[in-house]
């Protein structure tokens, strides 16, 4: 299925990491997704683009476990994906991804504490010292070591997202889900974040799914681009048919006209081709 050729991708086994088998999502008569049928290998960086309300976030939430498929199944490492959020899938939302009542350091240390069983997940003594050490390392990787004692409301939007990514990385998730993580950031900051995500993706050998409105971002970041769009239209009943994935592209193998065609398809038109 996959035609990706990237040195960062490890093909560890024959069975794909993620299998999506004929997945539908309907709310009453409203069909959101129809017949999704894709597989993803470990190490791929999949970007999901499409119009608002085309179901790409619904699909991400299925991976996250907050939305269940109406029909079909999603397998992670050959097993049905759990129907609630868990430590095997990390998430960074557009906002509200960090805990506002904890300092930057405490945000990350707490993530470490949540990996243990127990009533509060509070860490003491040696466990806490080790967690702090690990937290400082990861904060250094995302470029936040100068702000460890600040509270999130003292950070800029980009810094908050760096913190959210640091938290998610510490959990060593099988897949990392990014739900329009840079949508609220300034263009300059966004470029820095792109560099950071690519660096972490390579260093930590992550498998990433990222929803974005920005087609250019989708092309630049991913190894694979999914365009969510309706395959069929009924003018009288626009909700009759759901979205599928009409374009499943290995990034870098796309010509200019196709880019323009997709760009015209998804609204709002984000940016010009570089």
């Amino acid at each position: 299925m996959s035609m990706i050729d990237s040195s960062a991708i490890e093909k560890t086994s024959d069975t794909p990491m993620l299998q999506v088998n004929k997945v539908w999502k309907t709310y009453g008569d409203n069909v959101v997704l129809e017949g999704l049928d894709v597989t993803v290998q470990q190490g791929e960086f999949v970007t999901l683009v499409g119009t608002s309300g085309c179901g790409k976030s619904t699909f991400l939430n299925m991976l996250l476990g907050t939305v269940e498929p109406s029909r079909g199944e999603i397998l992670l490492d050959g097993k049905p994906i759990p129907n609630e959020p868990g430590a095997d899938r990390g998430i960074v939302f557009q906002q509200y991804s960090v805990f506002p009542h904890m300092t930057v350091l405490e945000n990350v240390v707490t993530s470490k504490g949540f990996q243990r069983k127990g009533f509060t997940g509070l860490l003491f003594g040696k466990a806490r010292r080790e967690a702090v050490k690990e937290a400082l390392e990861i904060l250094d990787q995302v470029g936040l070591s100068y702000a460890v004692d600040k509270y999130p409301h003292e950070l800029s939007g980009g810094m908050k997202q760096r913190l959210a990514i640091a938290q998610a990385l510490l959990g060593k998730p099988r897949i990392l889900l990014l739900d329009e993580p840079f949508g609220a950031l300034d263009p300059g900051i966004r470029a820095d974040m792109h560099a950071l995500v690519l660096k972490l993706w390579k260093e930590h050998k992550l498998t990433i799914f990222m929803v974005t409105h920005d087609l250019k971002e989708g092309f630049y970041l991913g190894t694979r681009l999914w365009v969510f769009d309706k395959l069929r239209h009924d003018e009288q009943a626009p909700q009759r048919f759901g979205a599928g994935i009409p374009y499943d592209l290995a990034v870098g193998q796309v010509d200019h006209d196709l880019y323009r065609e997709i760009d015209d398809d998804i609204q709002p038109v984000p940016q010009q081709v570089a």
Binding site: R89, S97, F99, G113, G121
Partner: protein
Amino acid sequence: MKKLINQTPDRTFQVFLGLLPFVLLIVLYMVSSDARLEVNPNDKLLPSFSQIGDGLSRMALEPSKRTGDYVFWQDTASSLTRLGLGVLIAAAIGLFVGVITGALPLFTAWVSPLLTVVSLIPPLAILPILFIVFGLGELSKVVLIAIGITPFIARDIQRRTQEIPPEQLVKAQTLGANTSQILMRVVLPQILPKLIDAVRLSLGAGWLFLIAAEAVASTDGLGYRIFLVRRYMAMDVILPYVAWITVLAFFIDQGLKHLNKTLFPWNERA
């Protein structure tokens, strides 16, 4: 000349404007009081400030001839103890019920309808029941305050808990947190400043229930004293007592506000 909606006072003028009504009220009182005392030196309705001072010092600085207590301070201590206990109990129950019903949908479905109905019961209407069940002692007064404001605090905390972005709860789960860890580490710390806010808002009602309970059945307390000396039209005692209650309420409110800022520096939204 700017439009009225665009006119803002500078700092000095702001203070002046704020103090003006107080000064006017005091002057108005003094003039009215003097006028009445001019006509009838034994008039009790509007005592002069020196008479009020005498009344206050009699209550606060001289031991009671009957019991040997300093009545004013005795009343203050009794009232504040009752109010404090009642509010503390209400805050504890309200926090627990509010967080559980706000964060766990199963408990929302189970407890919310009951909570809504209970909050509609007028607490003063069940004061006789409390007297019958708990007797005329301290307990029934504390219980009245607690019953009176617990539903308000519980519902407020429930709403605040539901206002925590669901993203945070999902995020905590993706980091491996279980339910109790989410409640203890994500929900509870963010709710505590809201609890202090809820307590500040409910203190007005707390004073109301306190004074009502003391007026009906008590042997001391600020509310008891006011209703007792009403029989002798002792405005020289009633007025300083009312002022004192206002001062106490003001400082408790400011204290809680300050406590909130000190304990939860992250709570100020950017």
